[in-house]
């Protein structure tokens, strides 16, 4: 090879090498944020709705020319199982490019992953899990939550149901932290309001057959069967109530406020079911119209479901933090710790010293013609339809 040829090859190579970093300097730096939720299994419709909403927030930010970074959503499936949750949380937290996480709908999963986020110093915003201990059971500065807890939810539920004139309850709850929490808070508030719990049954989170528990419940003739658990079990319990001819009012918790719950039941069985959830429904949220318009524009193959707006608000908040202080986990954590009255589509967000958002509104839902309808807007409130035994 001649010297000239060798030189020219060398020159071309070095030119190519120099061009690469130069080209990169014009593009924005890439920042990854993690989304973790149940993308498969019985709670997948909530999880996918949340994931889509988080993705929407990232898309909107990436389209904004003023944004300093390009964001990428690193979405992971926790399958609503604590062991899987710890795995994917570790995967996200140990990835140095991930600056923060929007995590968890299932409380039992969140309870087992908060330690992981703390250990790796990953700022995390919970978007759907409602067990109080996730924020109040530790002093981890990394953990925040935009949605409310089950404490307020059950307090309002107990108050509402006793005022409706219901007197006696049988409680079925799953034996995870989530179901046990609902049972504990609801029982406490209910007894204080003068309601009576006739019996309490703990059931495993993947149980198929409830006929034994329900037959026993039937014997006690309660006014209401309260179910503390998530959608898949809720569907089975309601179905088997019907098989045993139990006509009591069915009352659920925020874990069954999902479109999958209504799809799993025939309209005759879901009619008149009551469940409460923290936060207002999307159309009543301050930014609800904007959110739904953007969501529809993005053409996802399914709706945001009950907790999508929270996932959207959490993601937006996290991206705001990165924009303000840069992609640094410690700085983002410090920024989130100081959030007060920050505007979001779910209303102003203020974190208390445990990172808990102080959302007040609890929404009462009733199923009317296979749809979750606000109690105040329903034909049940106006007296056109009646709850069982009222």
């Amino acid at each position: 090879m001649s010297t000239i040829l060798r030189f020219s090859v060398g020159a071309m190579l070095s030119a190519a090498l120099m061009a690469a970093p130069l080209g990169g300097a014009f593009a924005k730096d890439k920042v990854k944020v993690a989304f973790i939720g149940p993308l498969s299994g019985g709670n997948a419709s909530i999880g996918v709705g949340g994931r889509n909403s988080a993705e929407l927030a990232v898309k909107i930010r990436n389209a904004d020319p003023k944004a300093k970074y390009t964001y990428e959503l690193f979405s992971q499936d926790d399958e609503c199982k604590p062991n899987v949750g710890v795995q994917v949380a570790t995967k996200a937290a140990s990835d140095r490019k991930v600056v923060g996480a929007i995590a968890h709908y299932c409380s039992a999963v969140a309870m087992s992953t908060v330690d992981v986020y703390h250990k790796f110093g990953l700022p995390t915003i919970v978007w759907g899990a409602v067990l109080p201990d996730i924020t109040y059971g530790n002093d981890y500065p990394e953990i925040h939550r935009v949605n409310g807890t089950m404490v307020n939810q059950n307090e309002v539920a107990a108050d509402f149901m006793t005022k409706m004139g219901f007197k006696t309850w049988v409680i079925l709850h799953d034996t995870t932290d989530y179901g046990k929490g609902h049972n504990a808070y609801f029982s406490k508030f209910l007894t204080a309001k003068g309601g009576k719990v006739l019996a309490t049954f703990g059931v495993t989170a993947d149980q198929q057959d409830f006929t034994a528990e329900l037959t026993k419940a039937k014997e006690m003739k309660p006014d209401v069967i309260y179910f503390g658990g998530l959608t898949p079990l809720g569907v089975r319990v309601r179905q088997q109530m019907d098989k045993l001819g139990i006509t009591a009012q069915f009352e659920g918790v925020s874990g069954i406020v999902s479109s999958a719950f209504l799809e799993g039941l025939n309209p005759k069985l879901s009619e008149g079911i009551i469940a409460l959830r923290e936060g207002a429904p999307v159309e009543k949220l301050p930014g609800g119209q904007y959110f739904m318009a953007e969501y529809d524009k993005a053409k996802f193959d399914q709706g945001p479901d009950a907790y999508g707006p929270f996932a959207f608000a959490a993601t937006t908040l996290l991206l705001d933090a990165v924009e303000a202080v840069g992609p640094n986990r410690k700085k983002v954590t410090a920024y989130l710790g100081k959030v007060k009255d920050k505007d979001s589509i779910t209303g102003p967000i203020s974190f208390d010293d445990h990172g808990q958002n102080t959302v007040a509104a609890i929404t009462k839902y009733v199923v009317q013609d296979s749809k979750w309808v606000l109690w105040e807007d329903s034909e049940y409130a106006s007296g056109q339809r009646k709850l069982v035994g009222r």
Binding site: G42, A44, S45, V203, T211, A212, N266
Partner: protein, 304 residues
């Protein structure tokens, strides 16, 4: 008293499903001395096949519930029987002379593979599917006791399958051949019985019955999911063991016994019903310690 009736009906329903699963375990063990751990997942495949047939029938415009039901059962049984025969031909027969532990492990892995295949490749497979109610839903109320037409039909269908199997094993030439192979493979071969064919037929039979149990399960709970075979398989196996592995009547007894134990565990015990499975399986352990060969042991001279 009416409540007792309700518990009894619930228990009989569960027991019928368990017995149908246990019968499969016992058939395979009787004929080939193997334990096929993928049986529960084969049942799940059967349930999904039945569900697919219902959806397919609806898509083709067949709306008559009876026609849908027939399509569901036929498709599930034929498909799952073929699957069972294929498992026997390509997985179990080639390993016949290998240590028995190998077959146990291979079928255990096959079960996991089947489960994951349905979860990953069936459309939206990781979500529970709402199995349509194809049976009449009328119910009779006697105070606290509600008897539903669909439960009664399911129990009778299950019992009919068990009786049919009994007749098949004891009254037909095919049954005679199965019994002959179960007793002594070598002699059966010299008497001109096609050994391989009989083994395949037995596996097809056991798997077909599992498919019926799967569809029954779907009709009863109005739900099928990819993980349903796991616990059902374990319960069916335990039922076959306490009844006496290899004995048909033992399996049926075991199935009803296990359902009874779960009922007692949930109802009569003072502590929370969450422990009913703990209780039922603990009793299984105790029975195994007391009678290691099961309540009705397999007679060495007459299997199946």
């Amino acid at each position: 008293m009416d409540l007792l009736g309700q518990y009894l009906v619930n228990g009989i329903m569960l027991g019928t499903i368990y017995a149908l699963v246990a019968v499969g375990f016992t058939l395979f063990f009787g004929v080939l001395d193997v334990i096929k751990f993928s049986h529960g997942d084969v049942l799940m495949v059967g349930a999904f096949a039945g569900f697919t047939a219902v959806v397919g029938a609806a898509w083709l415009g067949i709306t008559n519930p009876l026609a849908q039901l027939v399509a569901s059962v036929v498709f599930a049984v034929v498909g799952t029987a073929a699957l069972g025969a294929a498992i026997a031909k390509w997985l179990i027969l080639p390993l016949k002379n290998a240590p028995r532990l190998n077959i146990l492990l291979v079928t255990l892995m096959l079960g996991t593979a089947l489960r994951e295949v349905v979860r990953l490749f069936y459309p939206d497979g990781s979500n529970p599917k709402a199995f349509p109610a194809l049976l009449p839903t009328s119910a009779w109320n006697f105070g606290n006791f509600t008897l539903r037409a669909d439960s009664v039909l399911l129990v009778f269908a299950g019992l009919a399958v068990i009786v049919g199997l009994h007749v098949l094993i004891n009254r037909t030439r095919l049954g005679l051949a199965i019994r002959a192979v179960a007793q002594d493979e070598e002699t059966a071969r010299t008497m001109g019985i096609n050994y391989t064919l009989i083994v395949l037929v037995t596996f097809a039979l056991g798997s077909g019955i599992a498919a019926i149990a799967g569809v029954m399960n779907g009709l009863y709970y109005n739900e099928v999911n990819f993980g349903m075979g796991l616990l059902l398989g374990l319960i069916g196996f335990s039922a076959a063991i306490i009844g006496g592995l290899g004995n048909l009547y033992g399996a049926i007894l075991g199935g009803f016994l296990f359902a009874g134990l779960q009922m007692v565990g949930a109802v009569a015990l003072p502590f929370a019903s969450a422990y009913k499975d703990v209780f039922a399986f603990a009793v299984v352990i105790a029975v195994m310690a007391w009678k290691p060969t099961g309540l009705i042991p397999e007679r060495s001279s007459e299997r199946v």
